[in-house]
Symmetry: C2
Subunit: 283 residues, 2 copies
């Protein structure tokens, strides 16, 4: 395996979301980040659990890599009481894991419509109910919950929170130190209200996470794995970085891509390319 | 060919969009509508041109079928001056065709981002520029332009107008008799602001067309042909019909489905099923 040379350019705000290069085992990812000069990783629960949460926490701490977020909690929209209790319990576990991993931010994907339901507003209300149970639990452990609005094409089957305005309306019920939002360019780029809502989020201290991915067409079947490499699509990355930076956001900028073509390639090469694209398109 | 028996239920507001059963030739579609008691058809330019615009107008008039809309004008977002002139000319032809066919409504799909462009707001502005040229031309011919916001998943490649609010902001620049909106459940169902915007549209006299389709997942590759049969998906059809009817809308309710599975079936059977689903889910 060839050593990766460090990237020319400012990676101080860059973080790689683990799903972007899920073909790399956690220690491989950490090694590649160290070689390239990447300071942060956004982790996912499943591969971290596989490696061991405590071991992962130690590895990242020892290597000086910041855990920028943990993805993901959520899936709060079940109607069945047992399923709701199970979801709350699972989210408490996710909060505990975030605390162990040393990140202050758990990203939430709210969940879609339950099987057979057509009640979007009812589902959104149940997200609020779940947050009321979880926010104080998270706060006691030093973890903030970041509601991520997902693109409206996921409203039925993945996330009934489709806009930053909806996410902030929910977050407003709680202290800013407990509940905020995750802004992801892929999910909000079409929304002419999003820049105003970013100002609202920042003013309220609720801008808890920021992620980049590009919008490429045609979308694949199921649309989940269509997130494009930075620079390949329709989104002006500097424009969106500008929206958060102009509001005083100085936190990490995570690149999170779900893309079959990228997953089929050598993970170290994809990581290098992603860091280079970040420098070329978002710095 | 078996005669289709008339549908039990109130089809007085029902209109079938021609694309739903594009496997039927126009005279076949007209015959089937007469047999089933369907009073209106939303036409598409290409199959009408193939049949002959004047002949189609005569056929529908003679058979007493109302042409509820003509789909579609639009695609206004080109930057190249020649392409822009060509788009304006083509839309003038569409307006002439609508007048000949005896419909008062031309539905507009605004167009996506030009190749290589990332400037959504610039593209939206060019839609407004094109409307300024076309609205008076249409008004002289008794045709209203209905801007159709398309689901945000089409923002890059098909329609930069993604919400009713955006469509109405554009329409507001013109008299209500010239420019309004087309509300399609498929495109706006996720939007918690849509009901308020329907009130706004109705109050301003800009509710020019109303269409139904259901949201089914998983979306197919390219997402265009994923429009679901009424009752198969996540949208409460009565809820959305209620939003327009409660504002005094008494016009046609067009069912417009693009769906490979429906296109692969016998068109007359699909037409019957669609009318039955309308009665079962939207009456």
């Amino acid at each position: 395996m060839t050593e990766l040379s460090r990237i020319e350019g400012d990676l101080s705000r860059f973080s790689i979301n683990q799903m972007t290069v899920k073909q790399l085992l956690l220690p491989e990812l950490v090694d590649a980040c160290l070689e390239l000069g990447i300071p942060g990783i956004g982790l996912w629960r499943e591969p971290v659990q596989e490696y061991g949460v405590v071991s992962a926490a130690k590895l990242l701490r020892d290597m000086g890599i910041t855990v920028t977020t943990l993805c993901r909690g959520g899936f709060f929209t079940a109607i069945d009481p047992h399923a709701r209790v199970a979801a709350i319990d699972d989210n408490k576990a996710a909060i505990d894991e975030a605390a162990t991993l040393g990140t202050d931010t758990l990203v939430l994907v709210s969940g879609g419509l339950p099987e057979g339901s057509r009640d979007l507003s009812g589902a959104r209300e149940r997200v609020g109910d779940a947050l009321a149970e979880l926010a104080p639990y998270a706060a006691e452990r030093g973890v903030r919950l970041a509601i991520e609005p997902l693109h409206p094409m996921f409203a039925a089957d993945r996330c009934v929170i489709s806009t930053l305005a909806q996410a902030l309306d929910l977050a407003d019920r709680f202290p800013a130190s407990q509940v905020g939002v995750c802004v992801d360019s892929y999910h909000v780029w079409w929304d002419d209200q999003a820049p105003t809502q970013i100002v609202r989020a920042a003013d309220a201290g609720r801008l808890h996470a920021f992620q980049l991915a590009d919008w490429v067409t045609p979308l694949p079947e199921g649309v989940l794995t269509g997130r494009g490499q930075l620079g390949d699509g329709a989104i002006d990355m500097r424009e969106w970085r500008g929206y958060v930076d102009q509001q005083g956001y100085t936190g990490p900028i995570e690149v999170e891509l779900f893309n079959e073509a990228l997953w089929a390639r050598d993970g170290r090469e994809v990581l290098r390319e992603t860091a280079e694209r970040f420098v070329a398109h978002a710095c």
